[in-house]
Symmetry: C2
Subunit: 154 residues, 2 copies
């Protein structure tokens, strides 16, 4: 039924547009912009205080943004004491980035706030619907990823 399909697409489109608008984060959390929090999360995931620290290129790969973008974020985060840069001894082109104590605390705070807001959503929808939604969103993400890949040479 083609008409049904178009109608569903229309509804999906509208809800996604509204979602995108509303989902834009309003203000900073723990003194971090949303983008900074993202980068900081990525650094935090990369290992504890004993680890050598993550590289700029690894962050940019992981977050799918270019390395100059990461450099800019790191610059701001370092100035404000959230991260530390150290030279890599085995590859002197590389830079190792680690969280400071302040950075680790900021992550914890931001993570709590973020999770709390999603827990609010789960409470609103109920666990069953939330599960369903998460599954569907995973499928949407895999579709978008596929589309983006083939879209480049198709």
């Amino acid at each position: 039924m083609e008409a049904g399909k178009r109608e569903i697409a229309q509804r999906l489109m509208e809800s996604f547009i509204r979602f995108t608008k509303l989902n834009r984060p309003q203000g900073p959390i723990a003194g971090l912009t949303p983008g900074e929090a993202h980068v900081l999360f990525c650094i935090g995931r990369a290992g504890g205080p004993e680890a050598p620290g993550i590289r700029v290129s690894e962050i940019s790969d992981s977050l799918k943004v270019t390395s100059p973008t990461i450099t800019q974020f790191i610059k701001g985060l370092e100035e404000r004491g959230f991260v530390e840069r150290t030279a890599d001894k085995e590859d002197r082109r590389a830079v190792r980035i680690k969280l400071t104590e302040k950075g680790a605390q900021a992550i914890e705070e931001a993570h709590k706030a973020l999770l709390a807001s999603f827990e609010g959503l789960v409470t609103h929808l109920g666990e069953e619907k939330s599960n369903l939604l998460a599954e569907l969103m995973v499928e949407v993400v895999s579709y978008l990823r596929e589309k983006k890949k083939t879209g480049l040479h198709g």
Copy 2:
């Protein structure tokens, strides 16, 4: 079950973050940036060629952005011949904005492209799941709207 709830929230959070990243539009459609297309859609919805045209304030209310943002978009769109400005005769502070022929064509093209991409998603998920997703997203949107409202004075 608190542990379950947190786990669901976590999965929801991750899928939403990935979605947001992938859903960012890549390039212009019909010579319009995504933002311009949005504004043009809004102008198009406001009435046909015989209507008096929409006001800047009406667009900004509808799209939930400030009026200077709209002014900037209109400026660019007028320069490139997508819209026309005319003075309102009954309220000389106001400006009436209408689509040109070129603008109407651009909307049609952009709308087709957008709808086609969502139809691709509907095909991928199937109609049943797509319907479900649209319904869930409507609930998410209403939750976010509510949260944003109460968040301001709570």
